[in-house]
């Protein structure tokens, strides 16, 4: 029983963690992309479509990543090349993504999907309890763990990561030092898009292997909140993501048990929890100021 619940918590948390990690890298470079929800849903529909046509969920994963990354290029072109307002453009990306995915996916509604099967790691998966929970998972879970380790190393141990953080904190100085601000931001935005796409693929291949319109259901926005919660540190995304996953699954189980509370109230819990967590994290202005990338959301036009 406990093991089963833990497994569903992991499944519910993985897309949040993956999408939040991608957005974290983009925000560290100083770009606030509010289009996570849109990129995620595009990833979900691309992954579902590719899986249906090829029969392979692995090709589906690649398609989801590509879909999210390509879609984020649209955001990149507007905000980085044309220096459009990042908040407005992010909203546009979400609105367009929800519409476009609905149209692309219209013929998939009600069609059966193909579930991504778990890969059990030899030996490790035989450990009692932990083996089943941690080492008999699908590829996207393993990728999410690798991403946390990889992004932490990249941001805080690698030269390029240092440059990326420099751009996010002061793009003017970074530009003066000869760092290609716009080019690096493009890459960071695309990485964010790819991660959101991967998270979307998880939704339509693992979490509920089918296509439902608006199936991201606000997870992209929760991922954005997670980045704030994590104070732009990759390892804290893990804690936050699993907290939200646990709340989501907890309320589902409470609904199933029928504890006499309206189901709508329980369904509202993850959203209410997001607000509460944001209050707790943000109320200390000084720590927020220290952690937030200083150039976040500010337009940059290189002087030549």
């Amino acid at each position: 029983m406990f093991e089963a619940i833990l497994l569903t918590v992991i499944t519910a948390s993985t897309p949040l963690v993956v999408a939040a990690l991608g957005e974290l890298v983009a925000e560290r470079s100083g770009v606030l992309n509010l289009g996570v929800e849109g990129m995620m849903i595009m990833g979900a529909v691309f992954a579902f479509a590719a899986t249906r046509y090829t029969g392979s969920p692995y090709i589906g994963i690649l398609a989801g990543i590509a879909g999210g990354a390509l879609f984020s290029l649209l955001f990149g072109f507007l905000t980085l090349t044309l220096v459009a307002n990042q908040v407005a453009t992010g909203l546009a990306l979400t609105i367009l993504g929800l519409g476009l995915s609905g149209q692309i996916g219209e013929s998939f509604v009600g069609q059966p999907g193909i579930k991504l099967q778990p890969i059990s790691i030899p030996l490790l998966s035989e450990i009692p309890f932990f083996g089943k929970v941690l080492f008999n998972q699908d590829l996207i879970f393993y990728l999410s763990v690798a991403l946390i380790v990889g992004i932490h190393w990249f941001l805080f141990r690698s030269r390029t990561g240092l440059k990326l953080r420099a751009i996010g904190d002061n793009h003017g100085s970074a530009h003066a030092l000869g760092i290609h601000v716009v080019r690096m931001r493009y890459l960071a935005v695309m990485f964010g898009g790819a991660c959101a796409g991967l998270a979307g693929a998880q939704l339509s291949l693992v979490y509920t292997p089918q296509w439902v319109e608006n199936m991201s259901a606000g997870r992209g926005w929760i991922a954005l909140a997670l980045v704030v919660f994590a104070s732009w540190r990759p390892r804290r995304v893990l804690a936050g993501g699993y907290l939200f996953g646990a709340v989501t699954i907890g309320q589902l189980h409470a609904q199933a048990f029928g504890i006499g509370v309206p189901t709508q109230l329980l369904s509202a819990l993850p959203y209410a929890a997001t607000i509460v967590v944001l209050i707790i994290i943000s109320h200390n202005r000084r720590t927020t100021l220290i952690n937030t990338p200083a150039s976040l959301g500010k337009p940059f036009v290189p002087d030549r």
Binding site: L82, I95, G99, Q103, V228, Q264, T274, L278, R304
Partner: protein
Amino acid sequence: MRIELEKRPRVSGLFSVVSPLLALALTLAFGALMFSLLGKDPMDALYSFFVEPLLEVWSLHELAIKAAPLILIAVGLSVCFRSNNWNIGAEGQFTMGAIAGSILPVMNPEWHSPMILPLMLVMGMIGGALYAGIPALLKTRFNTNEILTSLMLVYIAQLYLDWLTRGPWRDPQGYNFPQTKAFVTEAVLPEILASGRAHWAFIFAILAAIAVWFMMRFMLKGFEVSVLGQSERAGRFAGFSARRMVWFSMLLSGALAGLAGISEVSGSIGHLQPIISPGYGFTAIIVAFLGRLNPLGIIAAGLVLALTYLGGEAAQLSIGISDKVARVFQGLLLFFVLSCDTLIHYRIRLIFAGAKPEARG
């Protein structure tokens, strides 16, 4: 090829006017392309999407019905966005306004009085404003990002409405449909003309747009909005308080969204039900930007976006295109509006590979 931006010495007056039109033209061109990819004749499709709904009296009424909430909400949002407060939860404030405004007709179904309608409208505005007050309070008191909190509150408001209409407020004689009792005639917003369904919400929208336009143009408060939006520091020197502006802009936009909500329920639907809006609160964001955050421009933009809703329905019937195309149009339009706005502040230069950068002294 590379694209370089060069800041214009002053804002281009020409492009301030041309850019929304350019964006519309680009959206139409893209739409034509999309329709031909779907295997439809693009001209036919565009005609039934954007022209046919304008040819009949009843559909002009529908246009006014759909434009009213969009304009009301977008006018409020324009004040928010101009003052750099990113309220994107108007859909939730719309819902809460509808709920608060419906308290009287739902709880007292036997009360017939000419007082009921004005009270409903006021309560709707209060409901929307109070709900927008939550992100305002959180932003001023706890420094919490209003984008995320206002959006999360949308989901909560929708779930609350869902619970009300399926639970305590459900009409017991309603054959198990999740909806409240139909409002009494005194609680229904009257039609403007005898020729069709369009009701007073459209008048409210025009009045609100003119009032906010007047405020932004001729009153100190409007100046305060723009100054604080462009530079909080400059605003402080002038003695303006950014904190009070958060409250002002959020409460104003919440009240207008709430008014839109109760007007929609009272005028168009006639009872409460789980879903009362095809995403007006989000589409209004597009309206606000297409109208260049100017209340008078927003009236025109609201009519354009209302046309995409109608066109979506019309095209579905006449040429069998999914009504989801409307959402795609709306998203594309916002993208083109935002890109064309670049032309107002910058000159765009294309630099081809091989060209040498000119020397600067």
